[in-house]
Each structure stands twice: as structure tokens, then as C-alpha cells.
């Protein structure tokens, strides 16, 4: 790396591409930056390790998606990384900042929350919109208000509702899933059969074992509760995701669901079905726990979770949408600064007493 370094210096030939070089350089090697202020030794945790933990945690979901829906998932992932990465790099160059690791997670999560049969150009449009409007216009990772991947998904859900609700793929069976099928760039034939949530509206509940293992129709990464719990618990154990958010969502979601079922047993599904179907688990463990777009105060995270869980239930059963996780979390993102403000106000009173 040191050999080609001069090319990217102040008067080097490739100077405008410096952020790409810097990102690659610091990605491969630990940067040679020394501490300038006490404490002179630092904890080894850094944003790269942090983000790589998140990616490790989502890996089981990616693999189950690959197994059930075939190599196309990998293709979607590549498209997402290339299209979204281009936007990120473009902005890093114009802003003269470093390329941020946060994108690696956004690009990884995005295909997993899309229907596996979606045309690839739509994946590209979605991620470009998500990264551009959801993140870059606010100043990049750490300054964004909305979860970029969810903004992209929300855009697709509103812009192309027909495709988004009919691009499901029947999951492959034992032993090879869809892996034996080979890759096809073109979208597979639209399947008329529906996801468990759609079927449930007709009164037909999918078997719990299928919901748990994931051989059902649904968004690429969200079908298998088992894989999500594996990764989600890993993140909780590592201390990367906050248990307050997770607990808040699951409790309010299950609680409100149970309460409403007591009132309207015909209309509301049982709690186990609510929890295992749709994107609620994936959203809980991997999307809502995104620290940047949630409240930044510790106490606020619980309220944030409760808000998201409740809104999800309400959207699912009292609106035209089949699933409400995307919009619930985006709404939660909007409310996060407000929740923070409330927490900060109460803290200010406490500090005043302490003085």
C-alpha cells in the first residue's frame, strides 16, 4: 500500500480518489494513528469491529435466505453493495471525508428485507434512494435520522406496491433448497401464492414449525425465526444491540396483540403467530437496534421499543398494509429525538438537584 500511496497524495495523479484509497488502506491495516491526549491507551473496540459484529450476526439470516431462495439472493446482495457503495463513495469524495463502515451493514441488510423475487434494477433503485435520501443528505453515518435500508424499502413499497407484494418465491425444499437451481438474472415467475400474513388474513395460519425454520414465503432474510434469534442473541450477548429496545418491542408487540385478541378474537391472530410471522423479529433484532437512528439516551430506548411494537400491531390489523414493521420503525426514528428530549429534560432536573 505504501508503494501506491504517493499517487493519491496532494499532487498525485489519482488525488480525487483519495477516499477510496484511504478506505481500502485503513480497511486492510490498522491505521497508524497515535493517541494525543490522555488516556494514552485505548480500548480495542472500534467502529469496524462493531460493524463486523453486526454483519456476523446477520450472516445466519443471509445463509438461510440463500438456502431457501437460491443464488439470486447473492446477486441481490452484490447489486446492493455496488449501487449503494457507489453513492457512498461519491459523497465521500465530494465531502472529502473517509468512507464510512456503516454502509457495509446497510448494503448487507437491504436485500434481506426485500422479497426475493424482486427485479435487480429495483434493488439498485431502492438502495440508491435509501442511502441518498436516508443517509447522505443528513451528512452520512452517525448523522442520519432514518435507517437508510428502511427508507429504501419504504420507497419501494410505496413506489412499486404491486411488484413488492407479488415477488415472492416458493422456498426450496430438502436437501438443497434452491441452491441447485443455478442463477438467473431475470426475475422468476411471480408467484400468486401468498406469505403467511396474507394467508392469515384469509383465516389460514401457517404451522409454527415452518415459521420457526423459515421454509415459508416472505422477505429474503426474515422468514427463519431460528436464524434471526441466533444472530439476535449473539448481538445482545456482545452488547452491541441494546436489550432495552428489543425488550420494549417484543413486550409491547406481544402484550398489545394479546390484549386486542381478547377484545376481537376473530380479527387478531394469536400471539405466537404474530411474533413468528412477517418481519417483526428481523426488525426488532437488526433494524430497530440500529443505534444511530434510535434514541441516544439509555432510558429512551425502552420507550422507543414500546412505540415501535405498538405501532406495528396497529398497522398490521387496522390498516391496508399487510405488514407494518418498516413504517413502525421509520415512525420510531421520527420520534427518537423527541423521546431523547423528554429523557434529557428529566435528567436536567436530576442534575439540578445534585448540584
Amino acid at each position: 500500500m505504501s508503494k501506491i500511496h504517493p499517487l493519491f497524495e496532494e499532487d498525485g495523479k489519482l488525488q480525487p480518489l483519495y477516499p477510496i484509497f484511504a478506505a481500502l488502506d485503513s480497511f486492510l491495516f490498522l491505521p497508524k494513528i497515535k493517541t494525543e491526549n490522555a488516556p494514552y491507551g485505548r480500548d480495542p473496540i472500534d467502529v469496524k469491529r462493531y460493524m463486523s459484529l453486526v454483519i456476523t450476526a446477520i450472516m445466519p439470516c443471509f445463509l438461510t435466505g440463500l438456502y431457501f431462495f437460491g443464488w439470486r439472493v447473492l446477486l441481490m446482495m452484490i447489486v446492493s453493495y455496488i449501487a449503494g457503495g457507489a453513492v457512498e463513495v461519491l459523497f465521500a469524495i465530494t465531502r472529502k471525508e473517509e468512507i464510512n463502515e456503516g454502509f457495509l451493514v446497510t448494503g448487507f441488510i437491504f436485500p434481506l428485507i426485500l422479497p426475493p423475487g424482486l427485479p435487480l434494477w429495483m434493488v439498485a433503485v431502492g438502495i440508491v434512494f435509501g442511502v441518498l435520501i436516508g443517509k447522505e443528505v443528513f451528512g452520512g453515518t452517525g448523522r442520519n435520522i432514518f435507517n437508510a435500508a428502511l427508507v429504501g424499502r419504504g420507497f419501494l413499497a410505496i413506489g412499486y406496491p404491486a411488484v413488492m407484494t407479488s415477488s415472492w418465491v416458493t422456498p426450496g425444499g430438502i436437501p438443497w433448497g434452491h441452491l441447485a437451481a443455478g442463477i438467473s438474472i431475470t426475475a422468476p415467475q411471480a408467484v400468486t401464492a401468498a406469505t403467511p400474513l396474507v394467508q392469515a388474513r384469509g383465516g389460514e395460519l401457517t404451522a409454527p414449525l415452518n415459521l420457526f425454520l423459515g421454509n415459508i414465503m416472505g422477505s429474503t432474510g426474515e422468514t427463519s425465526a431460528l436464524a434471526i434469534l441466533l444472530g439476535g442473541c449473539f448481538l445482545l450477548l456482545m452488547g452491541v444491540s441494546n436489550w432495552r429496545t428489543v425488550l420494549g418491542i417484543l413486550l409491547s408487540f406481544a402484550g398489545l396483540g394479546a390484549f386486542l385478541r381478547g377484545l376481537l378474537p376473530e380479527m387478531i391472530h394469536p400471539v405466537w403467530f404474530n411474533l413468528l410471522s412477517g418481519g417483526i423479529l428481523f426488525g426488532t433484532f437488526f433494524m430497530a437496534t440500529d443505534p444511530v437512528t434510535g434514541p441516544i439516551t439509555r432510558a429512551g430506548k425502552l420507550f422507543y421499543g414500546i412505540l415501535i411494537g405498538s405501532i406495528t400491531i396497529l398497522i398490521r390489523f387496522f390498516s391496508g398494509f399487510i405488514e407494518g414493521v418498516t413504517f413502525a420503525i421509520l415512525l420510531g426514528n421520527i420520534f427518537a429525538p423527541l423521546i431523547d428530549e423528554v429523557v434529557i429534560r428529566s435528567r436536567i432536573r436530576r442534575y439540578a438537584r445534585e448540584r
Binding site: L30, N37, P39, R49, I296, R298
Partner: protein, 473 residues
């Protein structure tokens, strides 16, 4: 007793229990600065001086504080810009160390005698007072309701309380008995220990069991329990009967040992037990060393300044020093040897990390229990915007939200930052240590506090002036 937050970085190079006696050096270098205060010399160039005689003095409320000579010898004054900043003491065989103060029984000493003797023996500045926010005044009117003796110094790696206790047991027990002489009527002394089951703690219990004014407070071994403001707050919180005007003094076990040696045996402060630790130290250990000994002697022959940095103090608060120029001060109890960062590790963030230990259990050392031996002066990452992970809030011992403070200070909103407790920051450095985005929080907070202080002073001066003008009219 509980403290909020806190965290103990597990790093390699913990000093062993042994305390090595280092021989008296031919030359001792005594810096005339203590507790941020410049002392003025009271000796002349070339003067021969006895052990324990004052080298320099500083006038405070109610008397003079002295720096006693750690050895007998011949004085050379070193000047910088016309001000004497350092005294070089040439020690020689013929000068003998001896007892120079009167010995007292704890029951037979007056308040006045305790104060003046401790001030002359260079021990008074070991006390910290919640009233002055620094060295207490020598006036008899300042009497603490509680004196806190802390034997838990958690920061890696300060001289361990247990090592000091074992080494200077008699002086410490003796020293504690003098404390009621300084306290207000019905005052108490709190001893801070790690846990009651500890054999050393138990021995202290049984030896001091008869004193009704003595309390024992076990605390968890977490940095920063030794922090003065944190301790003060915890003591006040534990006993709700404390009023705001009740004064708390804090002293560590080495200070108490010095009191015992001074009042009981007539010896002023002349030595310090210093912890030499850290991954850059070949033989992590404690040494007992004469004040003024050059750090070069402590570092040993093998020391190389290009590969190792020496910090005065522990990992979180230590400041870089130069072994050629610096020497052991009256208040020193630790030098940390931190390797300089040299190599750039390939794909460091993907490695299991058997030799890395973090606040998040995301390295393999979590399973093996290994200490962090890879820690260097490297930042171990890059500066990034805050990702709101909340680690700083979890560790903050003052119960603050450093991420919010940072957000306010990022846009220079000082008033908002003050409202969310900037002035309550105890400057422990933990938030900066754990930050994955490597934000220089401590530096930012200290700078902002200073700025706020200046603004307040200015505002005060302005109100005074307007008041004056109005009364003049």
C-alpha cells in the same frame, strides 16, 4: 457502598506484590511544584542541608506548607526564566538520615501540633478537602465531619492499597488513630476496602474494632472508585444526614502511612512506594524509592524511548513524561510503561483477539480471560462521528450522558451542555477510553469546562462593575 458506572480495563503488566528497595541515588532532583502549586525555595545555592529540613515553602491559609528534604546533601538551584523550578540534591555518605520531629502519642497531641507537624513534614497536601476542592486550609476552623481513607486504587496500575497495607501496617494503624484530632466533634473516619472477606481487610477490622468513630466501606474493584469527587458523592449519598456544608476529607493509604511515620516515629515524608507496570515493563513490580530519584533509574537499563512511552500515573489519567528530565515527586505512586505503536496489523478487526480485551465481550480473550497485552499508544481505530452506541453512558461514574454532552459541544452549545451536567464531569477519562468512534471526549469536556469557568468569571466581574457604577451614581 456503590458507585455508578465504572469499568476496569484488563491490561497486561500488573505489578507483583514484591516491593523492591531502590538504593539512594547520588543526585536527587526535586521539582518545586506540588498539587499544581509552585513552592519557593528557602535554601541557598551550595547550602548543605540535613534530612527533613525544608527545601521550599508555600504559604496557605493558616500556615506554611514545606517540602522536606528527602535526604541530607548539598543543594544546587536550577533556574528557568529567573524562577527556581528544581533543586538538585547531591547526597553524600557522611550525611546521616535521622529522626527530626518529636514523637507523639495519639492521645497526647494537640490539634495545633498535628496540623503544623504534618505541614512541615510535607504530608498535609495528601489530604483533599471537599471544601477547598484541593489541599485543606491549615486553619483550625476547617474541620471535616468525615475523613475517608481509601485503600482501593483501581486504576491500572497505581500502587495497590493491599501492598501498602502489608508493607506499612503499623504506621497505617498508628496513622488512623491520629485522625480524630483533625475531625469535627463526633466526626467519623471511613475506610474504603475491596471486600470484607479479604484477609487483609479482616485483619484491619479486628485490629481497629474498638473504635466507634471508624466505619468500613467495601466497594467493588472498579475504576474510578478512587476518584475524589466520586468518593465524596458516594459517601454523601450513603448517609443522608450529610449536609451540604459538612466537609469531607480524602486521603489514600500511603498518606496515612506517612502520617503514622511522622507523628509516631518522627520521620517526615521522604520515600514513595511506586508501581511500575504496563505491557512495556519487563518486570512489573512495586519499588520503594526516595523522592527525587530520576525516572531513568526506575525504567532500567533496557529502556528505549522509541519503543516505550512512560506515563506518570495510571492508564486513564497518566501524562507522558521524559525519563531523562523527570523524577519521582512527592505525590507519585505509579509509572505506566506503554509500548509505542509501531506495526499496522493486517485486517485487525477480523482477528479473534486472544491478546485484546475490551469493554464489549467481542474478543477471544473473553473466553481465555487473558489481559490486554497488545495495548499501545495506538488509537486502535479511526476518528468517526458518534454512532450513539451508549458505551460512554454505561461507564460514566457521574451518571452523565457523554454522548449528549458531545452533541451539544459539537455545535458550541455551552449553556445546554452545562444544563446536562458538564460541571459534574469528574474527568475520569473512561468515556474516552471506551469510545469506538475514538472521540476525544475528555479533552473536549475539560476545554469546555475551562471556557465556562472563564465566562462565569467575566459575567461576575461585569455584574460587580455595574453594581459599582450604580452605587457611584
Amino acid at each position: 457502598m456503590k458507585i455508578k458506572g465504572g469499568f476496569l480495563p484488563r491490561i497486561a503488566g500488573r505489578p507483583s506484590h514484591d516491593v523492591e528497595e531502590l538504593p539512594l541515588q547520588k543526585k536527587l532532583y526535586i521539582t518545586l511544584k506540588r498539587g499544581g502549586q509552585a513552592y519557593s525555595p528557602v535554601v541557598k545555592q551550595g547550602q548543605e542541608i540535613g534530612f527533613g529540613e525544608p527545601l521550599a515553602e508555600w504559604q496557605i491559609d493558616g500556615g506554611k506548607l514545606s517540602l522536606p528534604s528527602p535526604a541530607a546533601g548539598k543543594v544546587t538551584l536550577e533556574e528557568k526564566d529567573g524562577v527556581c523550578t528544581r533543586i538538585v540534591l547531591e547526597t553524600a555518605e557522611q550525611y546521616k538520615d535521622s529522626v527530626i520531629f518529636k514523637k507523639y502519642e495519639p492521645q497526647r497531641i494537640t490539634r495545633e501540633e498535628v496540623r503544623t507537624t504534618l505541614a512541615r513534614a510535607g504530608i498535609w497536601p495528601f489530604f483533599w478537602s471537599s471544601h477547598t476542592g484541593g489541599t485543606p486550609s491549615l486553619l483550625d476552623t476547617e474541620r471535616p465531619r468525615t475523613i475517608v481513607v481509601t485503600a482501593v486504587l483501581a486504576e491500572p496500575f497505581r500502587a495497590r492499597g493491599k501492598v501498602i497495607l502489608q508493607r506499612s501496617w503499623n504506621q497505617i494503624v498508628q496513622g488512623i488513630k491520629y485522625l480524630p484530632r483533625l475531625q469535627a466533634d463526633y466526626g467519623t473516619t471511613h475506610i474504603i476496602l475491596t471486600e470484607k472477606r479479604d484477609p487483609v481487610a479482616r485483619r484491619l477490622y479486628s485490629e481497629l474494632a474498638g473504635f466507634a468513630w471508624l466505619r468500613f466501606n467495601p466497594v467493588p474493584l472498579l475504576y474510578p472508585v478512587e476518584n475524589l469527587q466520586v468518593l465524596e458523592k458516594a459517601i454523601r449519598k450513603k448517609d443522608r444526614s450529610f449536609k451540604k456544608e459538612d466537609i469531607i476529607w480524602i486521603i489514600d493509604v500511603q498518606g496515612i502511612a506517612a502520617i503514622g511515620a511522622c507523628l509516631g516515629d518522627g520521620i517526615p515524608i521522604y520515600k514513595r512506594v511506586v508501581a511500575l507496570g504496563g505491557p512495556g515493563q519487563q518486570a512489573p513490580r512495586h519499588v520503594s524509592v526516595r523522592i527525587g530519584t530520576p525516572v531513568k533509574v526506575l525504567a532500567g537499563e533496557a529502556y528505549n524511548e522509541n519503543t516505550t512511552r512512560i506515563l506518570r500515573g495510571g492508564l486513564l489519567n497518566g501524562e507522558t513524561i521524559h525519563p531523562e528530565k523527570d523524577s519521582v515527586d512527592y505525590d507519585d505512586d505509579a509509572f505506566l510503561f506503554l509500548p509505542e505503536s509501531i506495526d499496522r496489523e493486517f485486517l485487525s478487526f477480523l482477528r479473534p483477539g486472544f491478546k485484546r480485551s475490551s469493554i464489549l465481550p467481542c474478543f477471544a480473550s473473553q473466553i481465555t480471560g487473558a489481559a490486554d497485552s497488545q495495548i499501545t499508544t495506538s488509537l486502535r481505530g479511526e476518528h468517526r462521528p458518534c454512532i450513539a452506541c451508549g458505551l460512554c453512558e454505561n461507564v460514566c461514574p457521574a451518571g452523565l450522558m457523554p454522548q449528549i454532552l458531545h452533541r451539544y459541544l459539537y455545535r458550541d452549545a455551552f449553556d445546554e451542555a452545562e444544563a446536562v451536567g458538564l460541571d459534574l464531569c469528574v474527568e475520569c477519562g473512561l468515556c474516552t477510553y471506551v469510545c469506538p468512534s475514538k472521540i476525544e471526549l475528555k479533552k473536549q469536556f475539560i476545554g469546555a469546562k475551562e471556557q465556562l469557568r472563564l465566562e462565569h468569571e467575566e459575567a461576575q466581574a461585569r455584574t460587580l462593575e455595574t453594581a459599582k457604577n450604580q452605587s457611584g451614581e
